[in-house]
């Protein structure tokens, strides 16, 4: 596969490639304005036009460095960044609170982030709360009807991808030739921790996509809804998927979307076939005893 020009580190460029020309207004989402440039500099939030409609844009700025939290640089989502992104989602919900589900604005997450803030102060204060807060906000917006599309353009790693990506309705990724990476940690670290040599892991990852680090492997597990083959292809793909998501939600098919939808997709593409068997057995076994746990009348 001949490598193409990577989009890694180019979150801001990607915004301009995706939204309607010159329509991105950084720092405003509905009634909320983010006017302190020092606050969560790694998180880029704002409103843009997409196919003529307002959308919320959330991206990472890999060039930003957070002076207050030294481990937060190169696109890392630290505590401030996580809460700032969560606030952008809550502001989107508030702005469309009295609109019908069909008119609630879409959210587009542009994903190029190497991880959450791995520092001591983050553990003293609680990085887990910030990355969790952003996920709960996205899940709430998705369940309220906002279409959410994640567009992976570079690195989509571990806790940062879990908060900035994996709660979306649909996940798109530039294909492997752009060097996009979706995983928890590089095979080199995995081999050290689970004590398997790298050659074995690399050999295995060809046939067993469950831990290999590329978008095609993640897609083989039902984790990606579309692999986009060109940079120009990002914009039309996002517009198409937003329309698809709106149609599915209008038809009451939320279960085909979001994390549960990717579980179903994982079964369809034969990447995760144990999951549905476990779920079916648990349901059957609980149904057999449920009466015992209902209030005795």
């Amino acid at each position: 596969m001949e490598m193409q020009e990577t989009m890694m580190g180019r979150g801001r460029d990607a915004i301009d490639m995706i939204v309607d020309a010159d329509s991105f207004k950084e720092g405003t989402v509905g009634a909320k304005t983010f006017d302190d440039p020092e606050f969560g500099p790694g998180a880029v939030v704002g409103t843009a036009g997409l196919d003529g409609k307002d959308v919320t844009i959330i991206a990472s700025d890999a060039m930003a460095f957070n002076e207050k939290f030294p481990v937060v640089y190169a696109g890392i989502i630290g505590m401030e960044e996580g809460y700032k992104m969560a606030q952008a989602v809550y502001a989107s919900m508030a702005a469309d609170a009295d609109k019908s589900a069909a008119e609630k604005r879409a959210l587009v997450l542009i994903v190029d982030t190497p991880g959450n803030g791995p520092g001591k102060v983050e553990e003293i204060i609680g990085m887990n709360k910030a990355t969790g807060a952003y996920q709960l906000a996205l899940a709430e917006a998705r369940l309220k009807g906002h279409p959410i599309v994640a567009m992976v353009i570079g690195r989509a790693i571990s806790g940062a991808f879990l908060c900035h990506g994996l709660q979306a309705d649909h996940i798109l990724s530039l294909d492997a030739q752009f060097g996009t990476m979706i995983h928890v940690m590089p095979i080199t670290s995995i081999s050290r921790i689970i004590k398997k040599d790298i050659e074995t892991l690399e050999e295995l990852s060809k046939g067993n996509p469950v831990f290999a680090a590329g978008p095609r492997f993640f897609s083989a597990l039902g984790g990606v809804n579309e692999l986009v083959g060109s940079i120009e292809g990002m914009r039309p793909a996002i517009i198409k998927h937003i329309a698809e998501i709106r149609a599915l939600k209008a038809a009451g098919e939320e279960d085909k979307l979001g994390p549960w939808g990717r579980g179903l997709l994982g079964e369809e593409v034969k990447g995760r076939v144990a999951r549905p068997k476990v779920i079916a057995k648990m349901n059957e076994e609980f149904a057999a005893v449920a009466e015992k746990y209902a209030p005795s009348r």
Binding site: N116, G119, N128, G132, L162, G223, P259, V278, F286
Partner: protein, 318 residues
């Protein structure tokens, strides 16, 4: 298999996932779902030459505390560190989904059913997060669980129970933070990036993970209690945890909103005050936060007996 009342007296820290599951609910009420006899092992381990486990390192089922149906999830740290793979993940995700479904069914059958008779989830967390042997499946399972936790909001109280050896780290750290209430013992530990990973990525001067006291000061139950990151700090025995869960089991879902850390714009505002304080103080140690909360005897706070600690400690309210 120790009998139920023997389990009650055991240290929660040392007790197996299955005995914790049995011991967290009333005697004889626990029904295991997808237990070892169903032989749901991970399909991804033999290719790596690793041993499997017929419950994939997690016990799921349902029991009762008084009138309350309790959906129980209990992770086994001795199997690959309680880490989350495809099967392990499906069991915990579906246990929460079943609790929500049962809630809806009971409420439909009897709209004025009492809060006490509506189900809760009790989740005994012992995990390092994503199982690296099947990391992509583990990532997807974490996202499914967060989706279920949001679907449980305002319906089914989900209680994190943290007091086991491995602690609760990695992705499961934010899962715990997203739950309604968190019950810890002082031996429980909770965080996102484990101390070893911080040291590996940022070096020893950022975090010396061999310094046990530093590890406990940063991630342990006493620190989490001061920060409001755990709601109840309980004694070391299984019975101490069961008692705490029992107190929560009878509360209406509305009472849990005030116990939460995240999940609303107001809570984000509140958490940002702690972040701003950290940006201003640059704490080098958790003790700096204890002092900020108004505790004078910071050095004794880790050693003093639990009862004294609970009586005297000031928590950091912002």
């Amino acid at each position: 298999m120790p009998k139920w009342n023997e389990i009650q007296e055991q240290s929660f820290l040392e007790t197996s996932a299955r005995d914790r599951a049995l011991g967290m609910v009333d005697e004889g009420t626990f029904t295991e779902l997808a237990g070892p006899f169903d032989r749901f092992a991970s399909p991804h381990l033999d290719v790596l030459g690793d041993a499997i486990c017929f419950d994939d390192g997690i016990v799921t089922g349902v029991g009762k505390i008084g009138k309350t149906p309790v959906f129980v999830i209990s992770q086994e740290g001795r199997f690959i560190g309680g880490a989350v793979g495809e099967v392990h993940g499906a069991k915990m995700v579906n246990a929460v989904r079943l609790a929500i479904e049962f809630h809806d069914k009971l409420k439909a059958e009897n709209p004025n059913i009492s809060a006490e008779e509506l189900p809760i989830v009790a989740f005994s967390l012992e995990t390092g997060g994503v199982r690296l042997h099947e990391s992509n499946a583990g990532l997807l399972a974490h996202a499914e669980l967060m989706d279920q936790l949001q679907k449980a909001r305002h319906k089914v109280p989900v209680i994190a129970v943290i007091g086991s050896k491995v602690g609760c780290f990695g992705g499961m750290g934010f899962v715990a933070a997203a739950m309604d209430a968190i019950v810890m013992s002082e031996f429980g530990r909770l965080g996102l990036t484990g101390p070893e990973v911080i040291e590996q990525e940022m070096g020893k001067d950022e975090f010396d993970s061999s310094d046990r006291s530093l590890v406990y000061r940063t991630t342990g139950g006493r620190h989490k209690y001061v920060m409001g990151d755990c709601n109840m700090l309980v004694g070391p025995k299984v019975s101490d945890f069961k008692e705490a869960i029992g107190k929560l089991a009878v509360l209406p879902i509305e009472d849990f909103e005030s116990m939460r850390r995240i999940g609303s714009p107001e809570l984000v505002e509140k958490q940002l005050k702690y972040v701003a304080l950290a940006a201003e103080m640059h704490p080098a140690d958790a003790r700096d936060m204890w002092a900020k909360a108004g505790n004078e005897d910071v050095a004794e706070m880790t050693e003093k007996p639990l009862v004294k600690f609970l009586a005297e400690t000031k928590r950091l309210e912002l």
